[in-house]
Symmetry: C2
Subunit: 110 residues, 2 copies
């Protein structure tokens, strides 16, 4: 549980930046080189590499180097883990409203 | 789009902390007073109030004061907006694999 918490901390922190979300969204469509990933952003390469490093630390992406080319892919497991947190909240929310509906039905039938 | 981005920045930042996620999860089950929300955490009240303030800034929760009692509720819209980001990634992921399946089927039929 402690580990899972800490993983979610990293994942949500990594996703709290528009550049990093855009990189993840791009990689969900397929692997890409760091050079291609950096291209749409008006940002110095060292700044962009910091974003890549945050995404790697959160294990949302992984990058492999072949010669001078680094290619990155998304790690979908981590995205799914974060999505599951929202699904759990939805489940609680639905059951809360199901309970309210039951209560209203009981009150109306009295 | 810029606004939505900035909203997601705040929401994901707010959710990158286990105390704040626990508060949101608790409020999804129904409104609660700040006192009750703070109770499970071994934390000084000022530190806890900082977490409440981050959640309010992200508009994930809102709090109302009646006399000396502050009661907080979750703002589900914001949670849903963040969840939608994951759904969008899923959609892209699914279509990527549907394309790969189609390609494989074509290659096999040749």
């Amino acid at each position: 549980m402690a580990n899972e918490r800490s993983e979610l901390d990293h994942v949500f922190h990594a996703l709290s930046d528009p550049t990093r979300r855009a990189v993840v969204a791009r990689l969900v469509g397929g692997p890409a080189t760091v050079k291609d990933l950096a291209e749409p952003f008006a940002m110095a390469l060292p700044s962009f590499l910091k974003h890549i490093s945050v995404l790697e630390s959160a294990q949302l992406i992984s990058c492999n180097k072949k010669g001078r080319v680094r290619t990155c892919s998304v790690d979908r497991e981590r995205l799914v883990a974060a999505e599951r947190w929202f699904e759990e909240q939805n489940r609680v929310w639905q059951s809360r409203y199901a309970n309210l509906d039951n209560l209203l039905a009981k009150l109306e039938s009295k």
